[in-house]
């Protein structure tokens, strides 16, 4: 058994694909049409294109409990998941220049440094650097 795909809920797949590729820098991997205009849409890290895929799933628009859960996390500022970066401060500055909004600026947390941003698709996401 392997971990190949991790899903995150997004309110709009087109918008999510644009943000996750053009702003964050991930690479589109699979785009498979499904019913009712939904797609099996995944992106991967540029440096690790055979690594785990991030599934941009439209659950908030088609499954009410998913929308409620996503909103509750968002309102509490809790990240849906996190991504590893080499340098949180540099990534914070790069993304801020691109207009990304951070709800938590780079913050040291023991042996890690973290920051939290808005992915514009209904989620807070965390970036983390191991110190």
């Amino acid at each position: 058994m392997k971990i190949n795909v991790i899903g995150i809920p997004v309110q709009d797949q087109d918008k999510a694909l644009k943000f996750y590729t053009e702003t964050l820098g991930f690479v589109e991997k699979r785009d498979i049409p499904l019913a009712e205009g939904n797609r099996w849409l995944t992106v991967v890290a540029k440096e690790e294109q055979d690594g785990p895929e991030l599934l941009l799933e439209p659950s908030p628009t088609s499954f009410e409990p998913a929308r409620v859960y996503q909103k509750a996390l968002y309102d509490a500022g809790i990240p849906y998941t996190q991504f590893s970066v080499d340098n949180v401060q540099e990534e914070y500055e790069r993304l801020s220049r691109l207009g990304v909004e951070f709800s938590m600026k780079p913050t040291e947390m023991g042996t890690t440094k973290i920051a939290v941003f808005d992915d514009t698709c209904g989620n807070k996401m965390q970036i983390v650097e191991m110190l």
Binding site: G77, I78, S103, M104, T107, M109, G110, T111, I114, M130
Partner: protein
């Protein structure tokens, strides 16, 4: 301030208030990263930080969730993937990341990645 920020502040205060201890463990990790290709052992690492071997072991596991040995293996394997992908031979890679036996290196590599170093290297040239 968000609920998450409050929680982060609370956890930091409860779990990460010993700055000296954290600095010691971060320095140990940095030393491993900078010297993964050398013969590293617990005696050397603990002497550098002026703390007992057992205390260092406990602290490293507590803050990074891995033992020093596990972390060293992980670092060496990540580097070996990079070297193999850049065209280095399996034997050269083995020595370049601090292992002395290509056979043991291949066994370890396969157990952690699912591929032998040769297969991994060739797949990167396809």
């Amino acid at each position: 301030m968000t609920c998450y920020q409050n929680e982060i502040d609370r956890i930091r205060e409860n779990c990460y208030s010993n700055e000296l201890q954290i600095a010691t463990i971060i320095q140990t990790r940095q030393f491993i990263i900078n010297n993964f290709d050398k013969k590293l052992n617990l005696d050397l690492l603990s002497r550098r930080q002026h703390i007992s071997k057992f205390h260092l072991l406990r602290l490293f596991k507590r803050y990074y969730g891995l033992t020093i040995r596990q972390y060293l293996i992980e670092t060496r394997l990540e580097k070996s993937k990079e070297f193999l992908a850049n065209g280095m031979s399996v034997t050269e890679t083995c020595f370049a990341v601090g292992y002395e036996s290509p056979g043991s290196f291949s066994t370890l590599f396969k157990s952690r990645t699912g591929f032998t170093p040769s297969i991994f290297k060739n797949s990167n040239f396809r």
